[in-house]
């Protein structure tokens, strides 16, 4: 067959366009990877929020040999609203964690949060009962909604946002601990350590709530934020968790667990299993397992008890019934 010049140019252009589209499709959307061969998780049994919690947490954290000596540790709890019920990370868990990191040699602990709906951060902190814990020396609180901001290029591009203004206190801390409340979520399925990082995106720039992230996709934004602000450790409050129409309107569920992990994907996958969900069916978790951490059980070393699926899975809104592990 004779190929004339016009046909050649046409075919070449078509091929080049196809290759460009294919490359864009195949090329990873992330420019970093925090995955290690194995991740460590400890599931601790905790029946309540009593004083015994600090000892339990201290023993649990010590299993990990964390490099926090002389470092500034930022605790990012999940403080959302002044509502009754298990909406926020329990203040006793936050206070106990702060004291544990100081005992382990941290030079300073900063509790940082930017509530997503409520502009009055002081009111949320008061209602959560956190203030007594913040009176202790070397434990500070920073309102991430109003911190100094730095424009940061995102290290993944799922949302198309490409850059965000983020708080200096988080960017400058040596060791970031995500402290979620274990809850179902009416838009993301579950809200755990990765989704908890939404709270570092500042209201003073993006509003209350951060509507921009919703428009750009919650699951996609979670991946972009966590690629850019790595989580070094997770302490998930699953003592009294939330099921149903979470994260605000759900019902309490006594799970009686605290999940510790040196990998946020492993932490969230373990929490999802404890909730009776298949973590692979949580979109941001399965995608996050490519570069943010380990999801598969054979890549996770259990340091304490091995978690069993609950007798009854957490209830979810009908649109998330596919999460439930059959």
């Amino acid at each position: 067959m004779k190929i004339d010049r016009r046909r050649f140019v046409g075919s070449a252009t078509g091929l080049a366009a196809t290759a460009a589209v294919a490359t864009e499709w195949v090329r990873p959307k992330y420019s970093v990877s925090y995955k290690r061969p194995r991740s460590q998780v400890a599931v601790l049994n905790a029946s309540d929020y009593s004083e015994r919690l600090e000892r339990l947490l201290f023993e649990g954290i010590r299993l990990f040999d964390l490099p926090v000596n002389g470092k500034t540790v930022l605790l990012k709890p999940n403080l959302v609203e002044y509502l009754p019920g298990p909406v926020n990370t329990n203040a006793n868990v936050i206070g106990a964690a702060a004291r544990c990191f100081l005992r382990l040699g941290a030079s300073r602990v900063v509790v940082g949060e930017g509530p997503g709906h409520q502009r009055d951060t002081e009111l949320v902190v008061q209602s959560a009962g956190l203030q007594p814990h913040l009176m202790e020396p070397r434990i500070d609180f920073v309102d991430l909604n109003r911190d100094e901001l730095v424009r940061v290029k995102l290290k993944a591009n799922y949302s198309g946002l490409r850059e965000l203004w983020l708080p200096r206190s988080v960017l400058d801390s040596d060791f970031v601990v995500s402290m979620p409340k274990v809850k179902t979520h009416h838009w993301a399925g579950v809200t755990l350590s990765l989704k908890n990082m939404f709270g570092v995106v500042p209201g003073m720039k993006y509003g209350w709530p951060r509507n921009l992230l919703h428009w750009h996709g919650i699951q996609e934004s979670i991946l972009d934020i966590c690629a850019t602000m790595p989580i070094h450790f997770v302490i998930a409050d699953g003592i009294t968790a939330m099921e149903g129409n979470g994260p605000l309107q759900g019902t309490p569920r006594e799970l009686r667990k605290i999940v510790l992990a040196d990998d946020p994907v492993a932490a969230d996958a373990t929490c999802a299993r404890l909730m009776g969900f298949d973590p692979l069916r949580v979109k941001y978790l399965s995608e996050g397992s490519r570069f943010l951490g380990n999801l598969r059980e054979d890549q996770i070393v259990m340091l304490a008890e091995h978690p069993d699926a609950p007798l009854r899975p957490f209830s979810v809104l009908p649109e998330f019934s596919y999460l439930v592990n059959e």
Binding site: R146, E148, K205, Y206, G207, N211, Q249, L317
Partner: protein
Amino acid sequence: MPTISKLDENLIRRQLSSGGWSFLGSRQVSVEATCLAVLAGGFESERLLGLQRRDGSWPAFSGDTEASWTTALALCVLNAMNDGDSARKRAFQWLLEERGQEADFLWRWKFRIADRNVRFNPELYGWPWDAGSASWVIPTAFSLVAIKQYTACSRPEAAEKRTRLGVGMLLDRVCIGGGWNSGNSIVYGVPLRPHVEATAIALMALQDERRTSSIQTSLEWLKQRSESVESVESLSWSILSLFLYQQPVGQLQAKLATLVGDGRVIRNNATLATAILALKCGEMIHPFAVMR
């Protein structure tokens, strides 16, 4: 009240060398904190005018290159000080053009047909926190106050139309039992609870409107809730709002004065400035009052 002069001193001490105020002591000028500080201390608005963008809007903070809801607050400041005629005109024009995402017919269609988990009337839109997002209660309320103040003598048709839409949006989003949450009243069939600050600011925007049952119920809710509020920010906005409805605020002011002390414990400069405004309520022209 002796406390106020000390609070003023504190506010002056926290002013940045560049002339504005940050939220929490950094060198990054926050437009919101600067607006409230300028109002509270009666300072010059020069630094604020210097941050205005070419299109008439203000960013959220120095260094930010995008427009923000703070434009409404900045226009309130200039209205109160009767300052910066050209800047005010440009801010007013920008506010008239700015709208929540629901103003786009495709989004309205989406909310009407497909996305019905959040119950609201998408025909009634207001103002967003930042470009490209939906309408929310607080930016809509401040925009309404700013436009109502600016057009107090003569309101062009376009401004009247936006005002009616904005008021309609606020009344559409009122919570069952009164008050406002951040944007919606019912999500997934469950009623949301009102927030003190959002309710106080929304009521300020409706101060000159006919006292509908929604407004009256919200006012009652705020009166009752403000008695138990222990946070400086929410209590300050409650006082500023209740005062506009001719409600007694003396006891709330006394409680606020106790909470703020000499102001040193209040790290957030915007909160400190709002507290000063609330404590001065009745002694100065209310910066968010709308002429009827």
